[in-house]
């Protein structure tokens, strides 16, 4: 079953500039898909639509279907709960004075009882390997720690779909490796938009190549990324790991 489905989604920015043109994509349950493309291709805009952040706009056409339910302005609250969105800059997402409050933000909004919230916070922090960070303030964390607290805040909402916007752009190699390991181990359906093609090829089974707000190619990650002409035409490069693969697997 398709956990996530986008049908002919078009959207223009408030200034009238088209951002997405008839984008269609899908993800089956438990799948990890990648969205790649040059800067300004519309990746972030597409991700915001998946969570219903840009809803009911006149300039929006097409459908986003989450777990069988089309996203409308009346079921946004459920959609927010089903789709967890990790933003590019962790400082945008960590808006609470302590780590505990931040991780608890979602569960509090969804009205869980306090004891349950404590348990969820503890478990989410353990899941990302940050036990005992509850009373730290976000400003005093390293980039990797911030990104993992963000992820804990999303896992605390127990979403069926995880949408990650450039999850590794501010991480050092170790932070990146740990985050990749974390993402790989999650059971949810995952959508990753990134310029980090090595990460995408490592984690994602299928990718969508976006340029100028359109899907220009889609298919298995290795297949798309190995097409050097296609990659160069859209501001990307064939990942090194694909250059050095043994010819006889």
């Amino acid at each position: 079953m398709n956990t996530l489905e986008v049908q002919d989604l078009s959207y223009s920015y408030p200034d009238g500039k088209p951002a997405l043109r008839a984008v269609s994509m899908h993800a089956v349950e438990g799948e990890c898909i990648g969205i790649v493309g040059p800067n300004g291709a519309g990746k972030s805009t597409l991700l915001l639509h998946l969570n219903g952040i840009l809803p009911g706009d006149d300039s929006r056409q097409g459908k986003v279907i989450v777990c069988g339910e089309p996203v409308t302005s009346s079921n946004l609250h459920e959609v927010h709960r089903m789709v967890g969105l990790l933003f590019q800059d962790p400082d945008d997402q960590l808006f609470c004075p302590t780590v505990r409050e931040d991780v608890a933000f979602g569960p509090v909004q969804f009205g869980f009882p306090p004891l349950e919230i404590d348990r969820i916070v503890r478990e989410s922090l353990r899941e990302v390997g940050l036990e005992g960070f509850e009373s730290r303030s976000p400003h005093h964390l390293s980039g990797g720690e911030k990104q993992r607290v963000c992820l804990a805040g999303i896992l605390a909402c127990n979403p069926s779909i995880l949408v990650l916007d450039e999850p590794t752009s501010e991480l050092d190699p170790r932070g990146r490796r740990e985050l990749a390991r974390l993402i790989r181990g999650l059971p949810a359906t995952r959508v990753i938009a990134s310029h980090d093609l090595e990460l995408v090829v490592d984690l994602c089974s299928r990718v969508y190549l976006l340029d100028g707000g359109e899907v220009v190619a889609s298919g298995p990650a290795r297949e798309i990324f190995s097409d050097e002409d296609l990659m160069l035409a859209h501001g990307l490069e064939k990942p090194h790991s694909l250059h050095h693969r043994h010819p006889h697997p």
């Binding site: 933003f87 808006f95 805040g153």
Partner: protein
């Protein structure tokens, strides 16, 4: 960059730090209000207040130098009002009154913010049924004021590194530019934060 000079010592461990946040907040507020109300004809009150605050500094293991510097950075505001008072009849007396009262109040606040983590103060406000919107705004302010300071420092450093022939006029111009840029960036960030809040169920 670490900008914790607003509440650098809030997370120390001392008898004062261990007191409940509610008690400290209540004491500080009571002290501020009574300092404003009590007439100057009762000098003993002000001496007692000052002694009490000094005791808090020592019990709280706060470095004297740090407290003095914090107080001095807030002083220009006080001095501005105090000097205006000089123009009036009985100006000198008025100046002394203003200086004593406002310094006691400021000292109380500096001590409160450096013996109590801000999150603790917010918890107290929440349990006092202060409107949640107000508490949220305070929490966001505390969270992002550091980021704003970081950002403005990075920007002025970047400008400085490309300023070759500083002239007085151009310095004001670049300062104005930085303020404008900060405003634009903050507005954009506010929009992203709001999106992040909505994404996790805020309404």
């Amino acid at each position: 960059m670490k900008h914790d000079y607003i509440d650098r010592y809030a997370r120390l461990d001392s008898p004062v730090h261990r007191l409940p946040a509610a008690l400290k907040l209540a004491l500080a507020l009571a002290l501020v209000i009574s300092t404003v109300i009590v007439p100057m004809s009762a000098p003993l009150y002000f001496v007692a207040c000052a002694l009490f605050l000094v005791c808090v500094i020592f019990l709280g293991r706060l470095p004297l130098r740090f407290v003095a510097v914090r107080l001095l950075t807030l002083e220009p505001l006080v001095a501005g009002v105090a000097i205006l008072a000089l123009m009036q009849h009985d100006g000198l007396l008025m100046l002394i009154r203003i200086l004593v009262r406002s310094n006691l109040c400021l000292l109380a606040m500096v001590l409160l913010s450096n013996t109590t983590p801000f999150a603790g103060i917010l918890d107290v406000l929440r349990s006092l049924r202060v409107p949640s919107l107000l508490v949220t705004v305070l929490a966001l302010m505390y969270r992002y004021v550091f980021l704003l300071i970081d950002q403005s420092e990075r920007m002025s450093r970047a400008r400085a590194s490309r300023t070759f022939a500083p002239r007085r006029g151009s310095r004001w111009k670049t300062a104005a530019g930085i303020v404008g840029q900060l405003f634009v960036r903050s507005t954009e960030r506010a929009e992203r934060i709001y999106a992040a809040m909505t994404a996790r169920g805020w309404r």
